[in-house]
């Protein structure tokens, strides 16, 4: 990946938006095992299981989120992570 490449990421829970911003890489707990997504991934719609979403934002900081039961959808360099319940696990982790 060219280090300059980023994608737009939105993490939304059923009753509130959790996180939104630009990221270099995202790891999600897909149903069939952990799945990494980099910018310009092919369009994908994948189910998630309970677990942790980890992402590296455009400042190279990493963020973790507890999520349960949802799906991700990636299209035109925009990643949407929609989950029933989600919360920031350790937002300021360096």
């Amino acid at each position: 990946m060219a280090s300059g490449e980023i994608m737009q990421v939105n993490i939304v829970a059923a009753d509130h938006p959790v996180w939104s911003g630009k990221a270099q890489a995202v790891m999600v707990p897909a149903l069939e095992g952990s799945m990494g997504i980099l910018p310009n991934h092919e369009p994908v719609l994948s189910l998630l299981e309970q677990g942790t979403v980890t992402l590296t934002d455009d400042q190279s900081q990493s963020h973790s989120f507890e999520v349960s039961d949802g799906f991700i959808s990636f299209d035109s360099n925009k990643l949407t992570i929609a989950v029933e319940h989600g919360q920031v696990k350790d937002s300021a982790k360096q």
């Binding site: 059923a14 009753d15 509130h16 938006p17 369009p43 994908v44 719609l45 994948s46 299209d75 929609a82």
Partner: protein
């Protein structure tokens, strides 16, 4: 004319009622801001699910009971009415009930067997009092419905919908709710929630590949009104049997459908609950505002009557004093 004492006590009671109405109005207006924030918070999730469903519609051949129910001869339909828990909201609940009754009558006339589901204490007591059959009810939190109640409602209704006809399943689901248009206008709406009507699928999915191709040609030449839709139709032909390579569904399109469609229903129901809650609060605020105004008018009216009756009694006393003084003077002469 009523006695001054009676007028005074009426004024006092109207004043205290006026204070209550005023307080209720202020409570309602503070709730509206909250209801709006909750609705805004839930919007991104609803949008995400909607987009996902759109993607599924565009890239797969959806064949799921939620979209197309197969047993068409099943006469049972479910009707969910969203009413309020508390009164003091003007015509909110009564207009919902009126609309529900009209819908039930219409469905009856079509030979269907409507089954009623009610949310909100006011609606429940209305139907209980009339000994009507209600399949299931929910109450509490109608002015700030959480995800939990939406989950419970959508689960019950989906279970009823997915159940086979011989086990008492239903073939359609209608929701009667109040749409929040603005602070002054709220409109009662009847929404057919199930089976889901997909903008894309429908006639194209039924047709052969050729007709799909034609449809695409048509949309290429004309109808530039909606660029998005045209773009989707363009990708549609490749789905003839399976998924297009453009979009990957993991683990499989079927499993994704199985999970996303119920979520879609749930989020739609939650959306209805939220807009109903906002409408309830707004109509409560309007009702309380009118009630406060009326209380003030009544107080003005009564005060005027009180003053008139006081003046009348003063005049009468004066006449009596003058009359008796005159009589005394005459006797002295």
């Amino acid at each position: 004319m009523a006695s001054q004492l009676a007028l005074k006590s009426r004024i006092a009671s109207t004043q205290s009622l006026g204070k209550i109405f005023n307080a209720q109005e202020m409570i309602a207006s503070s709730h509206i801001a909250k209801a709006r924030a909750v609705a805004l918070d839930a919007k991104p999730y609803t949008d995400a699910i909607f987009d996902a469903v759109q993607a599924l519609v565009a890239h797969t051949n959806i064949d799921h009971p939620i979209v197309m129910k197969h047993d068409e001869d099943n006469p049972r339909v479910a009707v969910l009415a969203l009413t309020s828990d508390r009164g003091m909201a003007g015509a909110y609940t009564s207009s919902i009930i009126r609309e529900t009754e009209a819908l039930l009558a219409g469905l009856d006339a079509k030979g269907k067997q409507p089954q009623l589901y009610v949310y909100g204490r006011r609606g429940i007591s209305y139907y209980k009092y009339r000994n009507r059959n209600v399949v299931d009810t929910w109450e509490g939190e109608t002015d700030h419905p959480g995800v939990a109640v939406a989950e419970s409602i959508s689960k019950t209704l989906l279970d009823a919908y997915m159940a086979p006809a011989r086990d008492g399943g239903v073939c359609e689901l209608y929701i009667v709710y109040t749409e929040f248009i603005n602070m002054v206008v709220q409109k009662v709406r009847v929404l057919r929630m199930l089976p889901v009507e997909l903008v894309q699928g429908g006639q194209e999915a039924d047709g052969s590949t050729e007709s799909v191709q034609e449809a695409v040609d048509d949309s290429d030449h004309g109808q530039p009104k909606d660029g998005q839709e045209t773009a989707k139709t363009g990708t549609a032909p490749a789905r003839a049997g399976e998924v297009t390579p453009l979009y990957t569904f993991e683990p499989s399109p079927g499993k994704v459908l199985d999970m996303i469609l119920p979520k879609y229903i749930q989020s739609r129901i939650h959306e209805c609950l939220l807009t109903a809650a906002a409408s309830e609060t707004a109509s409560r605020q309007n009702a309380m505002h009118t009630a406060t105004d009326n209380a003030h008018n009544l107080i003005d009216d009564l005060t005027r009557k009180l003053n008139a009756s006081r003046q009348a009694s003063i005049t009468q006393e004066l006449t009596e004093i003058i009359g008796s003084a005159d009589a005394l003077n005459k006797e002295e002469e």
